[in-house]
Amino acid sequence: MALARAESLSFAYPGSTVPALRDVSVGLTPGEVTLVLGCSGSGKSTLLRAFAGLVPHFHGGRFSGRVELAGLDTRRHGPAQLAGTVATLFQDPEDQVVFTRVLNEVAFGLENVGTPPQEIEARALAALASVGAEHLSGRLVAELSGGELQRVCLAATLALEPRLLLLDEPTSQLDPEGAKALLELALRLARERGTAVLLSEQRPALPLELCDRVLLLDDGRLTFDGPVGRARAWLEEHHPLFVSAGGDVGVHLHHFGEVTSRLDGVSYAYEDHLLVLDDASLELRRGEIVALVGPNGSGKTTLAKLAAGLLEPQSGRVDRRGRATYLSQDPGRYVLRERADEEVSVGVHGDLAAASRALAAVGLAGHEARHPRDLSSGERERLALAAVLAPEPDLLVLDEPTRGVDPERKHELAVLLRANRRRATLVVTHDEAFARAVADRIVSLALDRELVHA
């Protein structure tokens, strides 16, 4: 018997002529872990939001068909009423935190659903303990690392003891070990409690090992629904990049040009005096693509910013030749202009022709006049990439460029980066498969700040 069911569900966001979901019918069973895959913009997040009642109640738009959760029709019951029966863990933990202290944050949902006051603290602490974060209960949310914060958010959802758990790319900000730990933990707890889980992920390798069933959405349509064993074979045939390690993007080179950036024994500490980098050295040559990998907190972003000239080292020396551009994490958030071509032209003194060429290179030709905030999240990421490619830099630094990017777009990005060998490229990434596919050299930064070249 299905706990939740969507029947002939179609939905279009307000102002959009293209439906995000088209005639989707699917049922979710208690204790079953269902992985939903699909390219960016295929409707994965929308499907999760429909089961939470956020579509259509929060977003508005045109909704047809029916979604039922534990016998409640989501057209008549809004997300607040469904909360507790369903709980959602969103992609970006910073966008879902309400309180400044961990215990209050976990208790927030319990308070909202009317938990007896004398039970709230005990249940919040038990939820924190279940994700191994009991020691964080008195801490300030702002002091937590990305992994710790996502665990706290998971505890906040599990504290509600939901019958349906929705996980919307919950590991996109975590390193592979952190992602594995969080997913294994969430799915183990869900199975123990007989909770139905609907999980959306862009790095499918690990979830494919852990789930029972796979859905694949393509342009809003459900094109595959079956057990994980059959899913692998189907994906190999129809979407091979979802089950391969990055695909073929050409040969890796071994001989490169002049040095464009040399970091020699650099050290850096932020205001809190915690040493993030200590005596690190790195050389980047024209034509070379270097992937910088390592766990959360190992100093990858700091090293990348030093290489790009956004930070100055407190000791050691950085030599750069030519122009460097840097694409920050989550670049779609930082939109500066009101047209896509103007946004890209910021770094080329308003040269709209150069901006159009860069837009075409990232597959956004024809989008010149659109407002950047009207673009989908995936399109925004590509727009930001165009903005750092347009100046034709001698050193291109990309910080987590594959976060929230589907395997097919990742492959396109790898091909794009490898097509231009006139510059040096430094890619900071948690995505080991992408690093292996795109890079000529992988540099690993450990928590003890030691650089390992491979």
């Binding site: 507790g84 969103f90 909202n112 460097a324 930082y334």
Partner: protein, 232 residues
């Protein structure tokens, strides 16, 4: 001290600054609040201090040019259409100083509230109008969130090899900053609704009992208002 009486005390001091009639009294209140703010960590306090003291200074500088009050003329300038002749008189200057001190005191009281109070506990303590208190607490967090977003925008610009220069260069970031904060607030609202915010049957964590300092702070708040009306 629990946050609710501390907030009441700060509110009392701000009210006293608004009710007082003497510049010296208002300046003294502003100085006390400035000392409170200066005890906060440097990295957190600077946007609040710049906002408070900057707006008060701007008010002090601009007021004499837009007011037309008699008194000893210190400076007489050109005649501007609609505005008239620009001049600065002793009465205008003393009025400007008074209003600037008032603005500084009120905004420093807010800064002390934002910097020192535990907003989670303030929301928890709200026996009524909890949704409004939560809205105020979230609005208070807007300043550090805007600070982070502004840093992100500047970094995005520098990442393209462009340095935001001068006041005009930075002013152009205001519009994207506002749009970004609206997007962020929508995401937060969605997450809050998904967690049941707004249900009529909501409960709250039990609150610890008050000690001696809490009623004293409440009494101090009431006293500050009375003193502001009668003697300051």
């Amino acid at each position: 001290m629990r946050p609710a009486p501390a907030a009441a005390l700060l509110f009392g001091l701000a009210a006293a600054a608004l009710l007082a009639r003497h510049t010296a009294s208002v300046a003294a209140l502003a100085a006390v609040l400035l000392v409170v703010c200066l005890r906060a960590p440097v990295s957190r306090r600077w946007p609040y201090l710049i906002g408070s003291l900057g707006s008060a200074s701007a008010l002090f500088v601009l007021t004499p040019f837009v007011e037309r009050l008699p008194g000893t003329v210190f400076w007489s300038g050109p005649t501007i259409p609609v505005v008239g002749t620009l001049d600065v008189t002793s009465t205008e200057l003393s009025g400007a100083l008074f209003n600037a001190c008032r603005l500084a005191a009120v905004s420093l009281a807010f800064s002390a509230y934002a910097l020192w109070l535990d907003h989670d506990r303030l929301v928890q303590a709200a026996g009524f109008a909890r949704r409004s208190v939560l809205a105020v607490a979230l609005a208070t967090r807007l300043v550090p969130a805007l600070e982070r977003d502004a840093a992100g925008l500047v970094e995005a610009l520098r990442g393209r090899g462009v340095e935001p220069e001068g006041i005009r260069g930075r002013a152009r970031l205001l519009s994207p900053l506002l749009a970004g904060s609206l997007e962020r607030s929508l995401s937060l609202a969605e997450a809050m609704e998904a967690r049941g915010f707004g249900r009529p049957d909501a409960t709250r964590l039990p609150q610890p009992r008050w000690g001696l300092r809490e009623p004293l702070a409440l009494a101090g708040a009431a006293l500050a208002v009375v003193v502001g009306v009668l003697w300051l």
